[in-house]
Symmetry: C2
Subunit: 109 residues, 2 copies
DNA sequence: ACTATACTTAAGTATATACTTAACCTTTGA
DNA sequence: TCAAAGGTTAAGTATATACTTAAGTATAGT
């Protein structure tokens, strides 16, 4: 079943699980930003930021392009739709099932 | 800003970032299941499963109740709405902004 | 050509995470 | 009452992750 494309889900959620990376995403959600500008507000080194960006790119949450010596990063919606879809699908299923269950916790199978 | 409730977001995404934990959630999405039944199909020890369950409970993705010596686990939608909301909010914002940008950054792909 | 800027790579460290096995507690049922 | 079933705790290990500093590489400005 949905175990084939799960690799991407894995990477996206793992990426979102880090608060620094989510901070980066918040910054990028305003507008595209260069690597060093992203690093500014963060209290970690520039290489560290770069590594986070690699993670974010690898799972389709961020896209970037280098022009001259400046790399500009922006949100890539692809990764988000992977994550969003996974959650939405499960949520729909549970809501149905939980509904059907009523509130009885003790269903002895 | 939204930096206050972020702790929960952190934990939920981190929890979802592990494929074994997502497998557990898949199982629970069918119906409530006991700890040892959850462990059955998984190729890890029972204590390991238990630890995953603790992570899932700590972030509101799973709820459980012990009756006699059997602990029955079920999906808790709370955690999912945290994650779903975070994604939905950002997605809405980006879609607006990216739209406004047009294809400003020319797409190399 | 020379220097500064902006990123990139490399290499190492410290902590977190997922797992293990062994031992322990509770409840159930002969 | 005793043993098995179901779960829990403890303790240790091995790998992954997030970070660091130092040393590149390439482009821009003078």
């Amino acid at each position: 079943m949905p175990t084939l494309k799960q690799k991407g889900v894995d990477k996206v959620f793992h990426a979102l699980g880090d608060s620094t990376r989510r901070e980066i995403l918040e910054m990028l959600s305003e507008k595209p930003v260069s690597v060093s500008l992203l690093a500014g507000p963060l209290k970690i080194s520039l290489p560290a930021v770069f590594q986070h960006l690699q993670v974010l790119e690898a799972c389709g949450l961020v896209r970037s392009e280098k022009v001259g010596r400046v790399r500009t990063c922006q949100i890539d919606p692809a990764g988000f739709s992977v994550a969003g879809k996974w959650i939405a699908e499960r949520r729909a299923m549970w809501e149905r099932k939980l509904d059907r269950l009523g509130d009885l916790l003790d269903e002895p199978d």
